[in-house]
């Protein structure tokens, strides 16, 4: 599974079935386009940490506002 596929899966899981998969695009903003609130974003952070085996700072998590930014962060930080 690619990083992109994994991120899409995690976003859908964090939104608990309240999001259509076709809305998940690189430019989609988690808050404004995908309906995340700050708590849901923290849920996504925890799911992402567990899925990728990473500890991600809350500041980095907040800075990644779009799906594309999230994927780029994970691509550059994921373990080999």
């Amino acid at each position: 599974m690619t990083t992109t596929e994994k991120v899409h899966e995690l976003i859908l899981k964090a939104r608990k079935g309240q999001l259509s998969p076709e809305k998940i695009k690189p430019e989609a903003d988690l808050l404004n386009d995908l309906g995340f609130d700050s708590l849901a974003r923290m849920e996504l952070l925890v799911l992402t940490e567990d899925a990728f085996g990473l500890t991600i700072s809350k500041e980095d998590a907040v800075a990644a506002r779009t799906v594309g930014q999230m994927i780029a962060y994970l691509e550059s930080h994921k373990k080999a």
Binding site: D37, S38, L39, R41, M42, V46, K58
Partner: protein, 162 residues
Amino acid sequence: MSSTVTIRFDLNGRERVLDTAPDRRVLDLLREDLGLTGTKEGCGSGECGACTILVDGESRLACLMLAAQLQGTQVTTVEGLELFSEGRAIQHAFVREGAVQCGFCTPGMELATLALLRREPRPTRERIREGLSGNLCRCTGYVKIVDAVERAATDIGGGERE
């Protein structure tokens, strides 16, 4: 028809100037006039803590405050929690420890936690229970919530968990 007053206050880092009835509940002002529905109405009579907000850094119950009391204050609701690094740590800890079930009490719990940890950065479990005693949860039995506050205290302080 009741008269209105103009109130000026800081809400989640942004200045607000509103014309409102002076006796309008802050809870209604936030939820209905400003659309900030993260602040919940539980009992509406100051018993449950679901509507906890921070006013000048102190936890207050929005159901018991009147709009005119906001004049010149700094208000933080759950929507503004992520403006603070401690707020982000608290939210992360609540999720990580599984302290959120139905989520209705969570906004109030998290704001009460922020006020507690600013007053007392490393509280014991007993002090956490005391600090959150005004916030009721009907789901969790509180153990996970206390775990989350402990984790948040550690994360904010940069220390090791015991």
